[in-house]
Amino acid sequence: MNGIKKEIKMGREAILQSIKKNKPDLLPLPQINEKAFDEDINLLEVFKNNIALVGGSIKEIETKAIDAEIKTLYPNATQIANTSAKTSLGSIKISKNTDPHSLEHIDLAIVEGELGVSENGAIWVTAYNSIVRALPFITNDLVIILEKDKICLHMLQAYSLIDKRERDFGVFISGPSKTADIEQCLVVGAHGAMSLTVLLV
């Protein structure tokens, strides 16, 4: 192991010295003028359109109607993992200690999103929301519950809104998993969730 450590250190010093020698004079880091991206649009409408564009479905409902809605949308789902307090559904208990491999046959996962981005339909979901990091990916279908007053205009705004978070793991999810790797034919449902439903409350 000693030999490896020495080698690693050499790599580091060699790289840093070579950069120092070869880099140009310091160029300024630009200030970002966010006003240049301002748009007077209906955030909610554009967000909804973009969710549809990226292959998801979206519905505005009352919090108390969530359970019934999910039952209607996924009548055959029996293995349900839920991490949201906004619904009482859920047949599988999830905790920080759950082995992600045990979630292999989950039909449906229900998680809360923290923030929606109107320009691209992306929703910020953290490890805090999903408890088990693998959950929103390994599930067959995914429901994200999002409060409709938590939609911002674009990614720059999004990053200032999540700036103060606990940084462990977080993901912007925009639609269900998809691929166009076979002759450019878009197929929804690659390795992650086969479908995404966003419930706006």
Binding site: I15, I32, A134, I138, R167, F169, G192
Partner: protein
Amino acid sequence: MNHAEKAEVFNKDEAKVNWHDKALWYVREKRDTSAHKVQGWEYLRELGSSIKANVLSNLDEYLIQFETNAKKNGVHVHWASNAEEHNNIINSILEKHQAKKVVKSKSMLTEECHLNPFLEKKGIEVIDTDLGERIVQLAEEPPSHIVLPAIHKTKEEVDVLFQEHLNTKPSQGNPEYLVSEARKHLRDKFLKADVAITGVNFAIANTGGFVVCTNEGNADMGVHLSKVHIACMGIEKIIPQEKHLGVFLRLLARSATGQPITTYSSHFNKPDDGKEMHIVIVDNGRTEQLSREDFRASLHCIRCGACMNTCPIYRRSGGHSYDYAIPGPIGSILSPGKDMKKHSSLPFASTLCGSCSNVCPVKINIHEQLYKWRQVIVKEQKQPVVKKSILKVAGVVLSKPSLYGLAGKSARFALKHFPRFMIYNKLNAWGKARDLPEVKNENFDEWYKKRNKNG
């Protein structure tokens, strides 16, 4: 074989070339539609370019800052000067964990370092999990595009490949069926993997975190199911602050495929409890490229592939004709810096139309760099005798108007009256695979003067 010779091979199947050309142009059109929807798009490109220019001018400091912050988060940071060191570091991590099964999501860097064959020789199973990458891995081919690795394959070819390797039923290339079978096949690999290797789209100096973008969810399936995550990044992947992701994530997917953002943009900061996270920071020729003032900006690249989709040469010659991990216009300015002899034909695989520079989200002056590489290569590399002598003659002829007039006259005479074999031969590259236009009796100058007299 040089680029032109390899392109000739690709062009043997005309229908396929036409499909390839159109499919990529369609992606370019989707990029346009998507970009035009963004308020302040050009300003966004400007920002992308100047943030990257700042990064290169302060790269050592940003890397140290990134390392410090990543270590604070419990991430192991490794440095590799070249491909060999990179591969050895990964192997030592695998050995430490006695790992035998590795799942890998898309990483052009590991492609560049030839990691797969290195690990396979050591008896380790390495599975590429991006569908396109898996297809080319099964076909034992390199990717032909950095975003669409199997764009050169027809669905029927994929069908046959899957029948052979995944025991699928013949489906005449039904994409839904083939994807669902690949999902099953790869899910099994994810569940059994010991270690997940991913690339890095952006590494953030002020947080020590990094972002990986996929549409399929393969990076996350791999990482969250295995006990060790190894992320490999070139030194140029650094951005100063997390808020700059707000610029680059707006640019990346729109430029790549026309999507407003990839399905998953995963932000890794800390390993999950009981797991390990490693980052390997790789030079492999990048600091040398940094020293070349004319070619330095090629390190701005965020690997979107827009320059490939728009390039009239790439679209008609295919990614394999470039014979380099990164094909297309950007590959043609990166590769000569790595091995000028091997890749000397690539800067000539361009019409210099500038379309690549026009679509580049970080405003790399790709076509200008192609032109500059040509000048370097012509000086440093032995040129073919025919080309050299013809250019020498052309230089003399073009500098003397009377000689030019005479040459034109003779050429017009020759094209009209000489037998075919004297015109269509090795000396005339313009007559290869096409007929020269019908010639007039006079040149433009004569025609213009006459026209003035008459007018």
